[in-house]
Amino acid sequence: MLTKRIIPCLDVKNGRVVKGVSFVELRDAGDPVEAAVAYDAQGADELVFLDITASHEERKTIIDIVERTAANIFMPLTIGGGINTIDDIRALLHAGADKVSINTAAVNNPDFIREASERFGSQCIVVAIDAKKKKDGAGWEVFTHGGRTETGLDVIEWARRVTKLGAGELLLTSMDEDGQKNGYDLALTRAVSEAVSVPVIASGGAGNLTHLRDALIEGKADAVLAASIFHFKEHTIKEAKEYLTGEGIPMRPNTPA
């Protein structure tokens, strides 16, 4: 049976993990490769690096990080942030990434999703959707630029559209809940998960293990993305998997069965 996935996400800026991680003793808490190796050892199911480097020139550092990560860990790796061209995708995949996550570029030019998925296959094209509750309470709107720019697009319609264009997976972040640690937006997660036939990763709001459970059961998500609850020793991946298994959710055991 296909298992649900736990995906730690590392924000990387200019080649360094933002705020660092402290869930294990690392020689260098800011080194994304060291953090990736530690998560691999813990039994994470996939990893996401979100590159929030501002300037284009410094973006080469992410390629170097992907290359070093791919030489050391053998699990799926997704890279998001600042991906605008077919060449950006090719460079990341060639360096050892398995998937790329596209956000603003997809909103600016939806045809980019079709082009990218035809060229590289849907399996490696993740569309990231940043969602905020609409002011009138009727659903959610797509935002870009870290929640600063409204697009006028309805999240459910957009999710359906990008799936038709070839997205193989959706990374759905609630901008209302992100960083709040009060739990994922379950209504949003469920609405999107039921609207599309591709896997949905829930993101934004995880503060404890119950929140992961709720996103997978009530939110019907296929995977949960989390950052701070794992980065700062609050919980280990192993604890999370044991808890979720106990809740009847199919998880991959840490050691082979």
């Binding site: 995949l93 036939s197 082979p256």
Partner: protein
Amino acid sequence: MIAIIDYDMGNLRSVQKAFEHIGAEATVTREAKVIANASHIVLPGVGAFKECMKNLEAYDLIDPILKATASGKPFLGICLGLQLLFEESEEHGFGETLKGLGIIKGRVKGFTPTPGKGLKVPHMGWNSIKKKKDSQLLKDIDDDSFFYFVHSYYALPTDEAVTLTTTDYGIDFTSSIESDNIMACQFHPEKSQDVGLKLLKNFKDLD
């Protein structure tokens, strides 16, 4: 020397790095001579079936692959590299079928999404295998071990005896095959952490 066939489709570095990690010498190549002289041959592949076949033709790789599979040397297809071995695929077929390499009899068919049952397409994530026969490729790998999958199509071999493992995704589909020297897996051993590396090591140790 392991030859990893490069036809400009996807992430070959991971496959190469995984082999290097287990102490094998692996080269990424599209030269017929290098493939002919290799001790082991790997056909990776992600993306679209049609594009992959087109690129194999464009790089004159079909003949070297047919020679390699006929040579008796260990040959491993990964993901689309499994599907390409079959006779035809319905991928993007709209009624028309796409021709594959035809090395293994059978065809490639799409999963039907049934979101109500939680069956999304692509089949993406960690799923377990059931062994259908003994194989050196699965030495020290337990039944129900988890591997990483990402695919929307699966192979239906004409001869069930080639099926090495099956995996449950609404149906029990063939998740790996073995026919003499020709082996292939639908999952990604190079992305399946320790158990995947073990499979690659078993492949490397074949002669």
